[in-house]
């Protein structure tokens, strides 16, 4: 072997280890970067017989376990979907107050029945009548407060859907553009994985990969979201049933062309699925529950009140105690303005209502024992139960998503101990090659002195 061959070999080793050290440094620098796949140095013999014998190195991204990554994406989507529902239901539940605070509509209705009971003992007291009427108003205000919380959450869900779809569209644009360069850049592959991970929190996706690293992203029903040829954009169509629309986008002009007016079925998970379920299923159900509960109680009270007679009157006035406007119930404003006119007498034999006759307040208070009133507590329990179930589901999905994410990261992520040992290995190899070059230099000097 000539000294030139030896020198070339040592220099190739020097350079190869220098690149390996650089790759290790990149790994260390990205130890806390989510979805970063570590770089691995693959050494191989590089030789030309009788001329050159050395080493070459290829820096490659560590293979990502695509099954685990797909499962982690699915887990993140499930977590986001259940978290969106759990957060909304938790806020609605807050409108009920907590146990012991006694501000839920069930508690307020109990207070109203208690006030009616006390009114029966003080029927001639205008203050007692006002107290009972305002207690009833407070109860129906509490119903309205919870109903308004449900409506506010529905509006908020629509707002978040708009924000989410805007972000999804930006991500799909980026994925399309990363697809154009991923085959030439490990960094682009990392960015692509990061964008896919974020996208999976918004909606459940299927990802098909080609050998060169490009991805084809579709909804679960096969509708294309992004690939190397183009990308799509989502939109929100609010209505009785909120739907997500899908349009294809011209990458150059940005012009959109509607492909489908409803891709809800293809969005099986993710925050967008959670928000859709909130808007279309969960919140309308709770809204109907609260409204029906309030209506049943109002109907019971009105049915009893229809038999009551005002002071001095001989027949019931036919006036309603509780009135409804657009699903919101309240005490008749004429009674609130003039509590003394609250009819609570039940005279017999066509006699006029006595000022101290509270016999009509007793059946009003006894509405508390009807099925309609008993259902009130049950409806609060249903809201609490829905919030609890959603919370438990979100916690379970978070635990699963975290575990899957950790497992996925375990195969391709960075381990500092491993990088430390690699660094020492590459540094020593670098030093050894440098020593060989120094030895060759000494040999050259010796030969030159001989000459």
């Amino acid at each position: 072997m000539s000294l030139y061959v030896a020198l070339n070999t040592a220099v190739s080793g020097l350079f190869a280890n220098q690149r390996a050290i650089a790759a290790t440094s990149e790994n260390i620098a990205n130890v806390n970067t989510p979805n970063f796949s570590r770089r691995e140095a693959h050494f191989e013999t590089d030789a030309i017989p009788n001329q050159f014998s050395g080493v070459d190195v290829e820096i490659v991204r560590a293979a990502v376990d695509r099954f685990l990554q797909g499962a982690a994406f699915g887990g993140a989507a499930d977590e986001a979907a259940s978290r969106a529902i759990a957060d909304a239901l938790s806020r609605i539940e807050a409108s009920l107050g907590g146990p012991g605070e006694n501000i839920s509509y069930a508690n307020k209705l109990d207070e109203a029945f208690a006030a009616l009971t006390q009114l029966s003992a003080n029927p001639s007291s205008t203050a007692a009548k006002a107290d009972a009427l305002f207690a009833l108003q407070a109860a129906f205000d509490a119903f309205a407060r919870t109903g308004a919380a449900v409506v506010a959450e529905s509006d908020a869900a629509l707002g978040r859907l708009n924000v989410d779809t805007a972000r999804v569209n930006a991500l799909l644009d980026e994925i399309y553009r990363l697809n154009q360069v991923v085959q030439d850049s490990a960094g682009a592959a990392d960015l692509l994985d990061q964008r896919l991970a974020e996208l999976s929190t918004y909606l459940s996706i299927n990802v098909a990969r080609s050998e060169d690293g490009r991805v084809d992203v579709t909804l679960r029903d096969g509708a294309t979201l992004a690939n190397s040829a183009g990308f799509a954009a989502l939109g929100v169509a609010a209505g009785p049933q909120t739907t997500i629309t899908l349009s294809s986008v011209d990458p150059d002009s940005g012009a959109a062309s509607l492909l489908s007016s409803d891709v809800n079925a293809g969005i099986q998970s993710g925050e967008i699925r959670g928000l859709l379920d909130l808007r279309n299923v969960e919140l309308p159900r709770l809204q109907a529950l609260v409204e029906a509960t309030a209506r049943d109680v109002a109907d019971e009270l009105n049915a009893v009140y229809a038999g009551n007679v005002a002071v001095g009157a001989t027949t019931p006035s036919g006036q309603a105690l509780i009135v409804e406007a657009l699903g919101v119930f309240s005490v008749n404003s004429a009674l609130l303005a003039d509590p003394a006119s609250f009819a609570i007498a039940r005279p017999t034999g066509g006699a006029a209502g006595g000022a101290n006759d509270g016999s009509g307040a007793i059946p009003l208070a006894n509405v508390a024992t009807t099925a309609a009133a008993r259902a009130v507590a049950e409806s609060v329990a249903q809201i609490g139960s829905a919030a609890r179930d959603a919370d438990l589901k979100a916690e379970t999905n978070k635990a699963l998503a975290d575990d899957l994410s950790a497992r996925a990261a375990a195969s391709a992520g960075v381990n500092l101990d491993e990088e430390l040992s690699n660094l020492i290995l590459y540094q020593r190899a670098y030093g050894a090659n440098a020593r060989v070059i120094a030895a060759i230099d000494e040999l050259w000097q010796s030969l030159l002195q001989i000459i």
Binding site: I28, V31, N32, F36, S90, E93, A94, L96, P99, G100, S104, N107, L109, D110, F113, A114, A115, T117, Q118, S120, A121, S124, S125, A345, P347, G353, G354, A355, N356, D357, G358, I362, A365, N366, A368, R374, V376, A377, E378, V380, A381, I383, G384, S385, A387, R388, D391, A399, A406, A408, A409, A410, S411, G413, V414, N415, L416, E419, L420, L423
Partner: protein, 305 residues
Amino acid sequence: MTRISDLGFQQILLNSFQRAQGSAQLRQIQLSTGKVSDRYSGVGVATGQLLSAEGVIERVSAYEKAAGVAASRLQTQEAALTTIADSVARLRERFVVAMSTGSAELIAPELASEAQRIIAALSTESGGVYVFGGVNGTVPPTTAQSIADIAAAPNTDALFVDAARQRLAVEEGTTVDGGATAREIASGLYRTLQEIANAPQALGAFSGQLTNAQSAFLTQKIADLDQISARLYEELGLNGLAQGQTEDARVRNVQRRDLAEIVASEIEDVDLAEVVARLNQDRIAIEAAAQALKQASELSLLNFL
């Protein structure tokens, strides 16, 4: 080979740290509020039962107050009825004395005096309500001011404000009789008082010695007063019955409230000893998780370079 990525490892540690924090937060809330949870979702499926128990407490407390008002009214009625019965008894006694002594001197002033007491007793108020006013208890149940009004009335029943008896709610599903009205109590009494007051017109004034006709009249009135007295004691008996029912209802209300409070407490109140023990465990878990997280976060190769 099982690899462990530092990011994944830190994420796991962070999750366990957050779980320990979440658990400790729940215990802190339980400790400060004494409740299982500050949300109905934390109470779980027992929420309906809890709210029902709270509803029972609220309503039963109202019935306790209503029963208190009823008891007060019935006690006031009892005192007034006793006053009227005493007046009737004194009148009867005066008549008996007059007949035994033959002297009619004190009959007229005694009649005026007792009639005044009876009218005042019939106009007794409790909490701003006339207790013998029935369902019209906001106005005086009798318009008579003195024996003169009774004596001059063409129809003594017209001296009463017509009203039905009142029913008083004392317990869920239970009402008691609110007592007789002034007319029911004193209709016969007013007639008798009127007859006595107007007797001098036919029999001569009650002064000096009683005449035979006057004696016969008083004998008849003593019998009438006996009947009135019997009716009053009958009403007092009914009053006592209603008071007994009210007291029984009050006791049952207290028992129901106590029971409902126990049910609610079992659902929403925490065992503080258990919470303190668990909070201690959670603190240890937080410290352990924080320590592990700190060590994992401090991993650095700089020391080796």
